[in-house]
Assembly symmetry: C3
Homo-oligomer: 138 residues x 3
Protein backbone atom coordinates (compact mmCIF):
# COMPACT_ATOMS: atom_id res chain seq x y z
CA UNK A 1 0.00 0.00 0.00
CA UNK A 2 1.21 3.50 -0.85
CA UNK A 3 0.16 6.67 0.93
CA UNK A 4 0.59 10.30 -0.01
CA UNK A 5 -0.05 13.54 1.91
CA UNK A 6 0.03 17.18 0.90
CA UNK A 7 -1.26 20.45 2.30
CA UNK A 8 -2.61 23.06 -0.10
CA UNK A 9 -2.42 26.61 1.27
CA UNK A 10 -4.90 29.34 0.43
CA UNK A 11 -5.04 33.00 1.46
CA UNK A 12 -8.17 34.61 0.09
CA UNK A 13 -8.70 38.38 0.25
CA UNK A 14 -12.49 38.13 0.80
CA UNK A 15 -14.45 36.83 3.78
CA UNK A 16 -16.26 34.37 1.52
CA UNK A 17 -15.22 32.76 -1.78
CA UNK A 18 -15.27 29.52 -3.76
CA UNK A 19 -12.06 28.30 -5.40
CA UNK A 20 -11.78 25.44 -7.89
CA UNK A 21 -8.92 23.25 -6.60
CA UNK A 22 -9.42 20.34 -9.02
CA UNK A 23 -6.19 21.02 -10.90
CA UNK A 24 -4.11 21.09 -7.72
CA UNK A 25 -5.69 17.88 -6.45
CA UNK A 26 -4.96 16.21 -9.80
CA UNK A 27 -1.33 17.31 -9.49
CA UNK A 28 -1.17 15.67 -6.06
CA UNK A 29 -2.55 12.46 -7.52
CA UNK A 30 0.03 12.40 -10.33
CA UNK A 31 2.81 13.13 -7.84
CA UNK A 32 1.64 10.26 -5.63
CA UNK A 33 1.98 7.67 -8.39
CA UNK A 34 -1.11 5.93 -6.99
CA UNK A 35 -3.26 4.27 -9.67
CA UNK A 36 -6.06 2.65 -7.66
CA UNK A 37 -7.38 3.77 -4.30
CA UNK A 38 -9.20 6.51 -2.42
CA UNK A 39 -8.40 10.20 -2.14
CA UNK A 40 -9.56 12.29 0.83
CA UNK A 41 -9.63 16.05 0.44
CA UNK A 42 -10.71 18.06 3.51
CA UNK A 43 -10.60 21.55 4.91
CA UNK A 44 -8.27 21.63 7.93
CA UNK A 45 -10.27 24.58 9.31
CA UNK A 46 -13.75 24.50 10.77
CA UNK A 47 -14.94 27.63 8.97
CA UNK A 48 -14.16 26.30 5.49
CA UNK A 49 -15.42 23.50 3.24
CA UNK A 50 -14.33 21.11 0.56
CA UNK A 51 -17.16 20.02 -1.72
CA UNK A 52 -17.88 18.69 -5.20
CA UNK A 53 -20.18 20.61 -7.51
CA UNK A 54 -20.33 22.56 -10.78
CA UNK A 55 -17.76 25.11 -12.03
CA UNK A 56 -20.44 27.67 -12.87
CA UNK A 57 -20.41 31.25 -11.56
CA UNK A 58 -24.18 31.66 -11.43
CA UNK A 59 -24.39 28.62 -9.16
CA UNK A 60 -21.71 30.03 -6.87
CA UNK A 61 -23.69 33.27 -6.58
CA UNK A 62 -26.74 31.13 -5.72
CA UNK A 63 -24.76 29.30 -3.02
CA UNK A 64 -23.65 32.62 -1.51
CA UNK A 65 -27.18 34.03 -1.35
CA UNK A 66 -28.69 30.75 -0.12
CA UNK A 67 -26.12 30.27 2.65
CA UNK A 68 -26.75 33.85 3.80
CA UNK A 69 -30.45 33.00 4.01
CA UNK A 70 -29.88 29.79 5.96
CA UNK A 71 -27.17 31.16 8.28
CA UNK A 72 -26.87 34.97 8.00
CA UNK A 73 -23.57 36.55 8.95
CA UNK A 74 -25.22 39.53 10.71
CA UNK A 75 -26.06 40.70 13.23
CA UNK A 76 -22.98 39.10 14.74
CA UNK A 77 -24.77 39.13 18.11
CA UNK A 78 -27.12 36.51 16.65
CA UNK A 79 -24.62 33.77 17.54
CA UNK A 80 -23.53 32.79 21.02
CA UNK A 81 -20.23 31.67 19.47
CA UNK A 82 -19.52 35.33 18.69
CA UNK A 83 -17.94 36.33 21.99
CA UNK A 84 -14.70 37.89 20.85
CA UNK A 85 -15.35 36.30 17.43
CA UNK A 86 -17.53 37.20 14.48
CA UNK A 87 -17.51 33.94 12.54
CA UNK A 88 -20.41 31.99 14.07
CA UNK A 89 -22.14 31.95 10.69
CA UNK A 90 -19.04 30.48 9.02
CA UNK A 91 -19.25 27.33 11.18
CA UNK A 92 -22.86 26.81 10.10
CA UNK A 93 -22.24 27.56 6.43
CA UNK A 94 -19.38 25.08 6.37
CA UNK A 95 -21.69 22.48 7.94
CA UNK A 96 -24.15 22.84 5.05
CA UNK A 97 -21.42 22.64 2.39
CA UNK A 98 -19.43 19.84 4.07
CA UNK A 99 -15.91 19.34 5.39
CA UNK A 100 -14.57 16.78 2.95
CA UNK A 101 -14.86 14.90 -0.31
CA UNK A 102 -13.76 11.31 -0.79
CA UNK A 103 -12.96 10.56 -4.43
CA UNK A 104 -12.24 7.23 -6.10
CA UNK A 105 -8.89 6.90 -7.85
CA UNK A 106 -9.06 4.69 -10.96
CA UNK A 107 -6.27 4.16 -13.51
CA UNK A 108 -4.36 7.06 -11.99
CA UNK A 109 -7.19 9.58 -12.35
CA UNK A 110 -9.89 11.21 -10.21
CA UNK A 111 -12.87 9.00 -11.05
CA UNK A 112 -15.36 11.81 -11.66
CA UNK A 113 -18.57 12.16 -13.62
CA UNK A 114 -18.62 14.71 -16.46
CA UNK A 115 -19.25 17.86 -14.36
CA UNK A 116 -17.72 17.00 -11.01
CA UNK A 117 -15.12 19.50 -9.79
CA UNK A 118 -13.64 19.97 -6.30
CA UNK A 119 -14.06 23.33 -4.60
CA UNK A 120 -12.69 25.00 -1.53
CA UNK A 121 -15.39 27.07 0.18
CA UNK A 122 -14.07 29.89 2.35
CA UNK A 123 -16.45 31.43 4.90
CA UNK A 124 -13.98 33.33 7.09
CA UNK A 125 -11.08 34.33 4.88
CA UNK A 126 -8.44 37.03 4.83
CA UNK A 127 -5.83 34.71 6.34
CA UNK A 128 -3.79 31.66 5.42
CA UNK A 129 -5.70 28.38 5.64
CA UNK A 130 -5.07 24.80 4.55
CA UNK A 131 -6.64 21.91 2.69
CA UNK A 132 -5.36 18.36 3.23
CA UNK A 133 -5.00 15.83 0.42
CA UNK A 134 -4.43 12.25 1.58
CA UNK A 135 -4.32 9.37 -0.88
CA UNK A 136 -4.07 5.66 -0.14
CA UNK A 137 -3.87 2.83 -2.64
CA UNK A 138 -1.30 1.30 -4.94
CA UNK B 1 -4.70 -4.63 -1.65
CA UNK B 2 -7.71 -5.30 -3.85
CA UNK B 3 -9.83 -2.67 -5.56
CA UNK B 4 -13.21 -2.88 -7.25
CA UNK B 5 -15.18 -0.41 -9.34
CA UNK B 6 -18.68 -0.42 -10.73
CA UNK B 7 -21.13 2.10 -12.14
CA UNK B 8 -24.82 1.71 -11.33
CA UNK B 9 -27.10 3.34 -13.92
CA UNK B 10 -30.46 4.86 -13.12
CA UNK B 11 -33.08 6.47 -15.35
CA UNK B 12 -35.93 7.81 -13.25
CA UNK B 13 -39.17 9.05 -14.83
CA UNK B 14 -39.72 11.84 -12.26
CA UNK B 15 -37.77 15.02 -11.61
CA UNK B 16 -37.27 13.98 -7.99
CA UNK B 17 -37.18 10.56 -6.35
CA UNK B 18 -35.43 8.45 -3.73
CA UNK B 19 -34.29 4.92 -4.64
CA UNK B 20 -32.99 2.31 -2.21
CA UNK B 21 -29.76 0.98 -3.77
CA UNK B 22 -28.58 -1.08 -0.79
CA UNK B 23 -29.18 -4.41 -2.56
CA UNK B 24 -27.15 -3.36 -5.61
CA UNK B 25 -24.30 -2.08 -3.46
CA UNK B 26 -24.28 -5.37 -1.54
CA UNK B 27 -24.07 -7.24 -4.86
CA UNK B 28 -21.03 -5.14 -5.78
CA UNK B 29 -19.40 -6.00 -2.48
CA UNK B 30 -19.98 -9.75 -2.95
CA UNK B 31 -18.65 -9.53 -6.52
CA UNK B 32 -15.52 -7.73 -5.28
CA UNK B 33 -14.55 -10.54 -2.92
CA UNK B 34 -13.28 -7.89 -0.48
CA UNK B 35 -13.75 -8.84 3.19
CA UNK B 36 -12.20 -5.89 5.06
CA UNK B 37 -11.91 -2.32 3.83
CA UNK B 38 -13.83 0.79 2.86
CA UNK B 39 -16.57 1.26 0.29
CA UNK B 40 -17.24 4.62 -1.36
CA UNK B 41 -20.61 5.16 -3.03
CA UNK B 42 -21.14 8.53 -4.73
CA UNK B 43 -23.38 10.21 -7.23
CA UNK B 44 -21.39 10.99 -10.41
CA UNK B 45 -23.76 13.89 -11.11
CA UNK B 46 -23.95 17.19 -9.28
CA UNK B 47 -27.75 17.26 -9.13
CA UNK B 48 -28.07 13.91 -7.33
CA UNK B 49 -27.12 12.47 -3.95
CA UNK B 50 -26.08 9.29 -2.25
CA UNK B 51 -27.00 9.19 1.43
CA UNK B 52 -27.73 6.80 4.28
CA UNK B 53 -31.05 6.96 6.07
CA UNK B 54 -34.26 5.04 6.76
CA UNK B 55 -36.29 3.00 4.24
CA UNK B 56 -39.57 4.61 5.27
CA UNK B 57 -41.94 6.32 2.83
CA UNK B 58 -43.26 8.91 5.27
CA UNK B 59 -39.70 10.09 5.86
CA UNK B 60 -39.06 10.36 2.14
CA UNK B 61 -42.20 12.52 1.79
CA UNK B 62 -40.83 14.66 4.64
CA UNK B 63 -37.48 15.00 2.85
CA UNK B 64 -39.25 16.10 -0.36
CA UNK B 65 -41.33 18.76 1.40
CA UNK B 66 -38.41 19.96 3.54
CA UNK B 67 -36.01 20.28 0.61
CA UNK B 68 -38.64 22.26 -1.29
CA UNK B 69 -38.85 24.61 1.70
CA UNK B 70 -35.07 25.03 1.96
CA UNK B 71 -34.39 25.29 -1.78
CA UNK B 72 -37.61 25.68 -3.79
CA UNK B 73 -37.61 24.61 -7.41
CA UNK B 74 -39.72 27.56 -8.57
CA UNK B 75 -39.75 30.22 -9.75
CA UNK B 76 -36.85 29.05 -11.90
CA UNK B 77 -35.79 32.71 -12.22
CA UNK B 78 -34.92 32.59 -8.52
CA UNK B 79 -31.50 31.06 -9.37
CA UNK B 80 -28.75 32.74 -11.34
CA UNK B 81 -27.64 29.26 -12.41
CA UNK B 82 -30.89 28.99 -14.39
CA UNK B 83 -29.74 30.65 -17.60
CA UNK B 84 -30.70 28.05 -20.17
CA UNK B 85 -31.15 25.61 -17.25
CA UNK B 86 -33.89 25.00 -14.73
CA UNK B 87 -32.06 22.86 -12.18
CA UNK B 88 -30.50 25.45 -9.85
CA UNK B 89 -32.54 24.04 -6.96
CA UNK B 90 -31.24 20.52 -7.64
CA UNK B 91 -27.63 21.60 -6.96
CA UNK B 92 -28.69 23.00 -3.57
CA UNK B 93 -30.89 20.04 -2.63
CA UNK B 94 -28.05 17.65 -3.42
CA UNK B 95 -25.77 19.74 -1.19
CA UNK B 96 -28.11 19.25 1.78
CA UNK B 97 -28.45 15.49 1.18
CA UNK B 98 -24.76 14.89 0.37
CA UNK B 99 -22.75 13.51 -2.54
CA UNK B 100 -21.40 10.32 -1.04
CA UNK B 101 -21.43 7.70 1.67
CA UNK B 102 -18.34 5.90 2.93
CA UNK B 103 -19.21 2.55 4.47
CA UNK B 104 -16.99 0.17 6.44
CA UNK B 105 -16.63 -3.36 5.04
CA UNK B 106 -16.28 -5.99 7.76
CA UNK B 107 -16.27 -9.77 7.25
CA UNK B 108 -17.46 -9.26 3.67
CA UNK B 109 -20.52 -7.21 4.63
CA UNK B 110 -21.62 -3.56 4.72
CA UNK B 111 -20.99 -2.74 8.36
CA UNK B 112 -24.31 -1.01 9.02
CA UNK B 113 -26.39 -0.32 12.10
CA UNK B 114 -29.87 -1.89 12.22
CA UNK B 115 -31.71 0.71 10.10
CA UNK B 116 -29.00 2.05 7.81
CA UNK B 117 -29.81 1.82 4.09
CA UNK B 118 -28.16 3.54 1.11
CA UNK B 119 -30.29 5.77 -1.09
CA UNK B 120 -29.88 7.51 -4.38
CA UNK B 121 -31.54 10.93 -4.31
CA UNK B 122 -32.53 12.28 -7.71
CA UNK B 123 -33.27 16.00 -8.01
CA UNK B 124 -33.14 16.43 -11.78
CA UNK B 125 -34.23 13.17 -13.32
CA UNK B 126 -35.81 11.99 -16.55
CA UNK B 127 -32.43 10.96 -17.98
CA UNK B 128 -29.75 8.33 -17.46
CA UNK B 129 -27.42 9.03 -14.55
CA UNK B 130 -24.77 7.10 -12.67
CA UNK B 131 -23.65 6.11 -9.19
CA UNK B 132 -20.06 4.97 -8.59
CA UNK B 133 -19.16 2.13 -6.22
CA UNK B 134 -15.46 1.88 -5.39
CA UNK B 135 -14.17 -0.61 -2.83
CA UNK B 136 -10.65 -0.97 -1.50
CA UNK B 137 -9.39 -3.54 0.97
CA UNK B 138 -8.50 -7.18 1.01
CA UNK C 1 -2.89 -3.81 4.87
CA UNK C 2 -4.19 -3.67 8.43
CA UNK C 3 -7.77 -3.04 9.44
CA UNK C 4 -9.30 -2.17 12.78
CA UNK C 5 -12.91 -1.93 13.95
CA UNK C 6 -14.50 -0.76 17.16
CA UNK C 7 -17.95 0.30 18.31
CA UNK C 8 -18.25 3.18 20.76
CA UNK C 9 -21.46 3.06 22.84
CA UNK C 10 -23.29 6.13 24.08
CA UNK C 11 -26.40 6.48 26.23
CA UNK C 12 -27.32 10.14 26.58
CA UNK C 13 -29.99 11.27 29.05
CA UNK C 14 -31.25 14.12 26.82
CA UNK C 15 -33.09 14.01 23.51
CA UNK C 16 -30.40 16.16 21.93
CA UNK C 17 -26.72 16.61 22.80
CA UNK C 18 -23.23 16.98 21.34
CA UNK C 19 -20.39 14.86 22.74
CA UNK C 20 -16.71 15.29 21.94
CA UNK C 21 -15.43 11.80 21.05
CA UNK C 22 -11.98 12.83 19.80
CA UNK C 23 -10.18 11.21 22.75
CA UNK C 24 -11.95 7.88 22.24
CA UNK C 25 -11.23 7.90 18.52
CA UNK C 26 -7.55 8.63 19.25
CA UNK C 27 -7.50 5.65 21.62
CA UNK C 28 -8.87 3.46 18.82
CA UNK C 29 -6.13 4.68 16.50
CA UNK C 30 -3.37 3.92 19.03
CA UNK C 31 -4.88 0.48 19.67
CA UNK C 32 -4.94 -0.23 15.92
CA UNK C 33 -1.21 0.33 15.50
CA UNK C 34 -1.96 1.86 12.10
CA UNK C 35 0.46 4.68 11.16
CA UNK C 36 -0.71 5.68 7.66
CA UNK C 37 -4.21 5.32 6.23
CA UNK C 38 -7.80 6.47 6.52
CA UNK C 39 -10.16 6.41 9.49
CA UNK C 40 -13.93 6.32 9.08
CA UNK C 41 -16.09 7.35 12.01
CA UNK C 42 -19.87 7.13 11.51
CA UNK C 43 -23.07 7.06 13.48
CA UNK C 44 -24.67 3.60 13.18
CA UNK C 45 -28.09 5.18 13.76
CA UNK C 46 -30.04 7.36 11.37
CA UNK C 47 -31.08 9.91 13.98
CA UNK C 48 -27.51 10.74 15.04
CA UNK C 49 -24.45 12.34 13.46
CA UNK C 50 -20.69 12.28 13.49
CA UNK C 51 -19.13 15.58 12.44
CA UNK C 52 -15.98 17.67 12.79
CA UNK C 53 -16.16 21.14 14.24
CA UNK C 54 -15.10 23.32 17.18
CA UNK C 55 -15.14 22.33 20.88
CA UNK C 56 -16.90 25.54 21.91
CA UNK C 57 -20.12 25.59 23.95
CA UNK C 58 -21.51 28.77 22.43
CA UNK C 59 -21.26 27.18 18.98
CA UNK C 60 -23.07 24.07 20.19
CA UNK C 61 -25.89 26.26 21.51
CA UNK C 62 -25.98 27.94 18.08
CA UNK C 63 -26.20 24.54 16.37
CA UNK C 64 -29.10 23.53 18.63
CA UNK C 65 -31.09 26.70 17.94
CA UNK C 66 -30.29 26.68 14.21
CA UNK C 67 -31.28 23.01 13.72
CA UNK C 68 -34.56 23.71 15.53
CA UNK C 69 -35.19 26.54 13.05
CA UNK C 70 -34.37 24.40 10.01
CA UNK C 71 -36.17 21.24 11.19
CA UNK C 72 -38.32 21.92 14.29
CA UNK C 73 -39.12 19.01 16.55
CA UNK C 74 -42.74 20.11 17.13
CA UNK C 75 -45.52 19.80 16.40
CA UNK C 76 -44.76 16.11 15.93
CA UNK C 77 -47.68 15.95 13.49
CA UNK C 78 -45.60 18.10 11.15
CA UNK C 79 -43.80 14.99 9.87
CA UNK C 80 -45.38 12.11 7.99
CA UNK C 81 -42.65 9.90 9.45
CA UNK C 82 -44.24 10.45 12.86
CA UNK C 83 -46.82 7.67 12.74
CA UNK C 84 -46.12 5.84 15.97
CA UNK C 85 -42.82 7.80 16.13
CA UNK C 86 -41.87 11.29 17.19
CA UNK C 87 -38.38 11.58 15.73
CA UNK C 88 -39.03 12.84 12.18
CA UNK C 89 -37.05 15.98 12.97
CA UNK C 90 -34.07 13.92 14.13
CA UNK C 91 -33.65 12.34 10.68
CA UNK C 92 -33.53 15.81 9.10
CA UNK C 93 -31.20 17.30 11.72
CA UNK C 94 -28.79 14.41 11.25
CA UNK C 95 -28.88 15.02 7.50
CA UNK C 96 -27.71 18.62 8.00
CA UNK C 97 -24.93 17.62 10.42
CA UNK C 98 -23.80 14.54 8.47
CA UNK C 99 -23.46 10.82 9.12
CA UNK C 100 -19.71 10.40 9.03
CA UNK C 101 -16.24 11.89 9.07
CA UNK C 102 -13.30 10.46 7.14
CA UNK C 103 -9.99 11.47 8.72
CA UNK C 104 -6.46 11.02 7.39
CA UNK C 105 -4.07 9.02 9.56
CA UNK C 106 -0.47 10.28 9.33
CA UNK C 107 2.47 9.10 11.48
CA UNK C 108 0.02 7.33 13.79
CA UNK C 109 -2.10 10.42 14.51
CA UNK C 110 -5.40 11.94 13.41
CA UNK C 111 -4.21 14.41 10.78
CA UNK C 112 -6.26 17.38 11.99
CA UNK C 113 -5.96 21.14 11.67
CA UNK C 114 -5.54 23.13 14.89
CA UNK C 115 -9.22 23.26 15.93
CA UNK C 116 -10.68 20.10 14.41
CA UNK C 117 -12.44 17.83 16.89
CA UNK C 118 -14.85 14.92 16.26
CA UNK C 119 -18.34 15.12 17.73
CA UNK C 120 -21.23 12.76 18.13
CA UNK C 121 -24.51 14.59 17.58
CA UNK C 122 -27.53 12.99 19.24
CA UNK C 123 -31.00 14.01 18.04
CA UNK C 124 -33.10 11.21 19.55
CA UNK C 125 -31.37 10.11 22.71
CA UNK C 126 -32.35 8.49 25.99
CA UNK C 127 -31.25 5.06 24.78
CA UNK C 128 -28.05 3.17 23.92
CA UNK C 129 -26.63 3.98 20.50
CA UNK C 130 -23.39 3.27 18.66
CA UNK C 131 -20.63 4.93 16.67
CA UNK C 132 -18.40 2.85 14.40
CA UNK C 133 -14.67 3.44 14.04
CA UNK C 134 -13.05 1.64 11.11
CA UNK C 135 -9.40 2.19 10.20
CA UNK C 136 -7.50 0.84 7.22
CA UNK C 137 -3.84 1.35 6.43
CA UNK C 138 -0.52 0.04 7.59
Amino acid sequence: MKTYRKELWLDLPARRAFVNITGEVERCLRESGIREGLLLCNAMHITASVFVNDAEEGLHADFERWLEELAPEKPHSRYRHNVGEDNGDAHLKRTIMGREAVVAVTEGRLDFGPWEQIFYGEFDGRRRKRVLVKIIGE
